[in-house]
């Protein structure tokens, strides 16, 4: 009976959770993520936001925090707190969905380029370098403006423009794995390339992909916020970025309506910081050589 040797890459979800909790950065990150997830998932159920429920009089516009509106009202007399809850949900959703696309494209290209090397690698990396150099935001704005203000478009645009770094990182790791002894050995046992990739390469690059993915979520949430702020957000699905857009164009700053533009900004800061901390902490756990460096 052969005994399976447990390697570092085979640790389960719980193992990493415990390790993250033991690290100071990781713990704060986890707490931030838990709080935002709670706000995004639970709060909108009890405090739903109805965009059509506008204020009835001019006096209800941009009012400060009060008992009826804990975080005041917006330029249409709607409750800011309820918007904040719904916004959390949309920001998180767009960020995660875009990351899924970005991770699949990036790690797929990276693994194939690194494993097959040669000409395929050359072509794929040329494309990757091109997208790495082209500034993302102008391209996102152009695509967003042409394909319309729609949540699917935003997810696709961000997802399909955020993969180059992942591809680069995964490729270099795959290249070094490819040089290891187990690749020719598996081949001599008759394993196909795809099987080697699936059973030997992918499990080994997985920790790297996960660490990178967590950091990509942070970037995607920021990208969504920026695109929505520029005015390319989905008007029917208000995110934190969209809230900031409307607070900006409605002149909330000039009127000193801090309750309108502070909460969504802090929300973005909080969640992006959460993902960043967890990502760096995860990197430290899976790659102890990094030590205390960021």
């Amino acid at each position: 009976m052969m005994k399976r040797i447990k390697t570092n890459s085979n640790h389960g979800f719980r193992y990493f959770l415990v390790k993250l909790w033991a690290d100071r950065m990781g713990r704060w990150g986890l707490i931030a993520l838990a709080i935002t997830t709670f706000i995004a998932v639970i709060c909108p159920i009890f405090f739903p936001f109805d965009p059509s429920q506008v204020g009835t009089s001019a006096a209800s516009i941009l009012t400060g925090p009060s008992r009826t509106h804990l975080l005041g009202s917006d330029e249409l007399g709607r409750d800011v707190l309820r918007q904040f809850f719904t916004g959390a949900r949309i920001s998180l959703f767009v960020g995660i969905m875009a990351t899924v696309i970005s991770t699949i494209v990036g790690s797929g290209l990276g693994v194939f380029a690194g494993y097959y090397m040669g000409r395929l690698d050359g072509v794929l990396m040329r494309i990757t370098d091109f997208f790495l150099v082209v500034p993302a935001l102008p391209l996102m704005i152009a695509l967003g403006a042409i394909f319309g203000q729609n949540i699917t478009v935003i997810i696709m645009v961000i997802g399909f423009l955020s993969w180059p770094r992942t591809a680069r990182i995964v490729r270099s790791q795959t290249l070094s794995l490819r040089q290891r002894q187990f690749v020719p050995r598996a081949k001599s046992l008759g394993a196909s390339n795809l099987r080697i990739i699936r059973t030997h390469i992918v499990p080994h690059v997985m920790p790297l992909i996960v660490a990178n993915t967590i950091l990509v979520v942070a970037g995607c949430i920021l990208s969504e916020a920026t695109l929505s702020f520029i005015g390319l957000g989905d008007p029917d699905r208000i995110s934190w970025g969209t809230m900031l857009h409307f607070s900006f164009v409605s002149g909330a700053i000039g009127r000193g309506a801090w309750w309108y533009f502070l909460p969504p900004g802090f929300g973005i800061l909080f969640i992006v910081l959460g993902f960043t901390l967890v990502g760096h902490s995860f990197e430290k756990i899976t790659n102890p050589r990094l030590g205390g460096s960021v």
Partner: protein, 322 residues
């Protein structure tokens, strides 16, 4: 093939790729732009054909493409229907203003970012280092436009004291050039700080990591063995070698900088490429959006080309190994 030539060909092919991409993005995909421009059903066939020809939208895709290339080479970027002006004039003015903003904040970011990064990296693990890392991560997690909004609120509404919009005071009459210069500088302060605050975090973290990497090299041990002072070790040996990986990250930095500048220009109504892009999105003025996208991207490609050359001048080892 010599490196310079090879690199230059890559640059040209990248520019060609982005021009072609741009053509398909703006000329083929958005359906029939004429319908958008006309905004009415009551145009007769002759008028539509005339409009089509004036926008270069008649004939096959291929002939449209070649005419588009020819127009680009002549510097003809089309006509803006929301600004009622030639696009080339619009982007020409905007480009200068954006460069001013970028130069000012890059100066701050590079000088302060490197200084703080080296400071933190040479004290790895100490309290001052941890504090620097944490505050950098916080700054890095803030959307640039929101930082701008906070500053507008602070200096425009709450405390006051600094101009928060535009590049100069409207309708101001200057008695000499120095006054004009002073006015622009005052307007430049807040946008520059906003852009610098977020990007400096990126620079600090990269410099710090690079320095920590270099400090573990064998030659640093030699330097310590020679009895050099800490200052000499860090600055003369550590800093100079740490700058190379920092320069490698410049592609990322340039991209982040351009993205940040767009947001800052929108918040502070700074009349540069970003504000132009923003206004063209709002007005759905595609010729302007197209030109500002194309110009920004090509400028970034050229800047990266420059960074690559600089890297080879600063690190002769690269040239030898190739």
């Amino acid at each position: 093939m010599p490196f310079l030539l090879r690199r230059f060909i890559t640059l040209l092919s990248s520019i060609f790729a982005i021009v072609t991409f741009n053509f398909f993005l703006f000329h083929i995909i958005p359906g029939d732009p004429i319908r958008l421009i006309a905004r009415t059903q009551r145009l007769n066939a002759e008028a539509i054909a005339k409009l089509r020809a004036s926008y270069g939208l008649d004939g096959s895709v291929l002939s449209q493409y070649f005419r588009y290339l020819a127009k680009l080479l002549h510097g003809d970027l089309g006509y803006s229907y929301s600004f009622k002006e030639n696009v080339s004039g619009l982007v020409g003015r905007a480009l200068g203003n954006t460069l001013l903003l970028l130069t000012a904040s890059t100066l701050i970011v590079v000088i302060a970012g490197i200084a703080i990064g080296v400071f933190a990296g040479s004290r790895q693990g100490r309290k001052s280092d941890t504090a620097t890392v944490i505050s950098s991560l916080i700054l890095w997690s803030m959307p640039t436009f929101w930082v701008g909004m906070l500053l507008v609120f602070t200096f425009g509404v709450w405390v006051g004291g600094l101009p928060i919009s535009g590049i100069s005071t409207a309708n101001a009459i200057y008695s000499n050039w120095f006054q004009y210069f002073l006015d622009i500088s005052r307007h430049l302060i807040l946008p520059t700080i906003t852009l610098a605050i977020v990007d400096i975090a990126f620079f600090i973290i990269i410099t710090r990591t690079a320095l920590i990497d270099v400090m573990s090299e064998d030659y640093m041990l030699t330097a310590r063995g020679k009895g050099l002072t800490r200052k000499a070790i860090v600055w003369r040996h550590g800093f100079r070698n740490a700058m190379l990986p920092v320069l490698t990250a410049s592609a990322l930095y340039i991209s982040a900088l351009v993205g940040g500048a767009i947001q800052v220009e929108v918040v502070f109504s700074w009349p540069g490429m970003g504000l132009l892009m923003y206004n063209s999105v709002l007005a759905r003025d595609y010729p302007v959006l197209e030109a500002s996208f194309l110009l920004t991207t090509v400028a970034v490609l050229v800047a990266n080309f420059g960074a690559d050359l600089l890297y080879r001048i600063l690190d002769p080892r690269v040239a030898v190994s190739q």
